[in-house]
């Protein structure tokens, strides 16, 4: 069984391990087509493609087809009730030059992703490390910390709006009891986004569980050796833990960034329920996907929405490619 110390195979490189010992005394070779029937239908290829049919059909019908159609629509003016009208690159020009919401939403999403991802990962790693030892009620703790990730945004969103309510909410109540006048949170143009980031960090459970799995693989001997060399807790963390769990860290980082860029539910629910209108006051929490949803489904600028979607996709591709490129630099394999 592989663990974090062996090289993490890139998904594209993975091949099944060779058979330990061919049964039948080597007379049968698994890579040759089954000898009995000679039709193509009996070959490995046929079986493979047959079994992959649902996934491939889904890929084409639900992904590739719509992607290409969406690319076409991004060059049209389309409001669902009438036929699409070709307008060339005007949608892209409007977005990049004239739309008062586009660049703010890019800024909001960038800030959101670059703050919420490190915050969640740091908390997840910290808690995972604290949890990674025998203790009383460990399973209970594990459940409690994972629990928020299970809640639907529709439910947790309204609870958070309640908590962040400037006058009746729990948070300002607590702050007031220590003498701090809390800001207007979801209704303030400066504090709405930090509030959203805090809300999203609450769902760190998934990353925590994956870190827990990764931490299992750090051998005790390394820590003991480091301690013998006189390394303190922080040094042990930095020089032993981080390198060993770097593949897991990488995974969480990539997934975390992608999810943050695609985030929609929480921002939608909280800004609708907070009464400031979807997107927050002065677009303070107007995430990119929220802007896209409003333009496409509230106001029916479908062509514009398609253009926005493609720009987002390209951004995600670029960021992920960068991440994978940097992987060789800082992810340790031994």
């Amino acid at each position: 069984m592989q663990n974090a110390l062996t090289p993490t195979p890139h998904p594209l490189d993975a091949v099944p391990p060779p058979p330990a010992q061919p049964l039948g005394g080597g007379l049968l070779d698994i890579s040759a087509p089954v000898a009995r029937r000679r039709t193509w239908f009996a070959s490995e290829s046929a079986k493979f493609w047959l079994m992959m049919t649902p996934a491939l059909l889904g890929f084409i019908i639900f992904n590739v087809g719509p992607m290409l159609t969406s690319l076409y629509l991004s060059f049209t003016k389309y409001d669902v009730v009438s036929a699409p009208k070709w307008i060339g690159v005007n949608n892209y020009l409007y977005l990049l030059r004239h739309d008062p919401a586009f660049w703010p939403s890019v800024k909001v999403t960038t800030i959101y992703a670059s703050c919420s991802v490190p915050l969640s990962l740091a908390i997840a790693l910290l808690i995972a490390m604290l949890l990674n030892q025998r203790m009383f009620a460990r399973n209970l703790f594990r459940t409690i910390f994972f629990l928020p990730a299970l809640l639907p945004a529709a439910a947790s969103g309204v609870v958070w709006v309640w908590i962040f309510d400037p006058t009746r909410g729990l948070l300002n109540h607590i702050l007031a009891s220590v003498g701090i006048a809390g800001p207007a949170w979801m209704q303030s143009t400066t504090w709405a986004l930090p509030a959203l980031i805090i809300m999203s960090a609450w769902g760190f459970g998934r990353a925590m569980v994956i870190f827990l799995a990764g931490l299992q693989e750090v051998p005790r001997q390394l820590y003991e050796a480091a301690e013998l060399d006189g390394a303190g807790a922080w040094n042990r963390f930095y020089h032993v833990t981080i390198p060993v769990i770097s593949p897991v860290l990488f995974f969480n980082l990539v997934i975390g960034i992608i999810d943050a860029l695609k985030a929609f539910d929480l921002a939608f629910v909280t800004s609708t329920a907070a009464g400031a209108g979807a997107g927050g006051p002065a677009r303070a929490t107007l995430l990119y996907t929220l802007n896209l949803y409003q333009k496409s489904f509230n106001y029916f600028h479908m062509g514009l929405g398609a253009a926005m979607a493609w720009l987002l996709f390209l951004a995600i591709l670029l960021l992920t490619a960068i991440n994978f490129g940097l992987e060789k630099r800082w992810v340790h394999t031994s």
Binding site: P54, P66, N132, L151, A154, A213, V240, T241, V248
Partner: protein, 292 residues
């Protein structure tokens, strides 16, 4: 899950008990912080309407209004939304399990040129934001007259649209030695039989993980029902909750105590499912999630 190694840089076998207790207390404190919003939610669900508007806010209601839950269920058509959510969720779980099994097996059991390309393409769709495909998908469903039915919610999962599950299961299947396949083939077993009798039983933790993940994702999904369901009779729970908030149109008139009651009830199935599947579920993630 084994943890005979103390993989914690802060503690080694020589760390004092005092330090361990300190860590335990920190965790306890952290738990309180994590549970605070939930506690607030449950307590608010037991208040009266004027109490929810009270300023400064009261933590604990004067009298616990348990009837809020009855009122919420009756006024909210809870049983209908619950049934709808259950229907859609079970449909999606079944679809995901079937297609993920088939696809993961295909990706593992055969040596075919282009297999890795297929896998890579499928993985690439993980990066695709839903918004890129949603408008043309919407148009397609309009053309098929599938709007206002459950079909747009369930059918995609029967066509391998949950690539994360395929990925997870593939990693799990990779750990099963090839001898098993060979032996079964020599015995004359059909591919389907190999899949169901050899691989699926061995991959139970992963399958359970997939089922739980799909359950959570579908139960909590707001985006898809929001787009495709128009008839109130078909609403799922998250959508019904949003509608309930919108009843008065303004934040002023929303009966928050009922909203919180519904949110609490909505949370219970997910918590139960997770709690029951917890141990196997975490094993499933850790054993196959990233390292394979």
């Amino acid at each position: 899950m084994t943890d005979s190694k103390f993989a914690n840089p802060a503690t080694t076998s020589r760390t004092s008990n005092k330090r361990r207790w300190l860590i335990w207390l920190c965790l306890l404190l952290g738990s309180f912080v994590m549970l605070l919003p939930l506690a607030w939610m449950i307590l608010t669900s037991l208040k009266t309407f004027p109490e929810t508007l009270a300023d400064p806010p009261a933590w604990i209601p004067a009298h616990f209004q348990w009837h809020n839950y009855l009122q919420a269920i009756r006024g909210f058509q809870f049983s209908r939304y619950f049934a709808n959510s259950l229907l859609v969720t079970i449909g999606c779980i079944a679809g995901t399990l079937v297609t993920a099994s088939l696809s993961a097996y295909a990706l593992v059991a055969y040596k075919v040129r282009g297999k890795n390309i297929v896998f890579g393409l499928l993985l690439a769709t993980l990066m695709l934001p839903a918004q890129v495909t949603v408008i043309p998908q919407f148009r397609m469903y309009v053309g098929l007259h599938w709007i206002n039915t459950f079909r747009p919610l369930i059918v995609p999962s029967w066509f391998g649209c949950d690539v994360f599950s395929i990925f997870l299961l593939r990693q799990f299947f990779l750990q099963i030695p090839r001898d098993y396949i060979e032996a079964a083939r020599i015995d004359g077993a059909s591919e389907l039989r190999i899949l169901t009798t050899v691989f699926i039983p061995l991959a139970k933790p992963a399958l359970l993980t997939i089922a739980v993940f799909t359950f959570i994702g579908t139960w909590n999904d707001l985006w898809n029902p929001l787009l495709y369901l128009y008839d109130e009779k078909l609403y799922t729970l998250p959508l019904g909750l949003m509608q309930f908030i919108g009843i008065a149109g303004t934040a002023q008139g929303t009966p928050w105590q009922l909203v919180m009651a519904i949110a609490t009830i909505m949370m219970i199935p997910v918590v139960i499912v997770f709690f029951l599947a917890q141990k196997r579920f975490i094993e499933g993630i850790s054993a196959a999630g990233i390292k394979g």
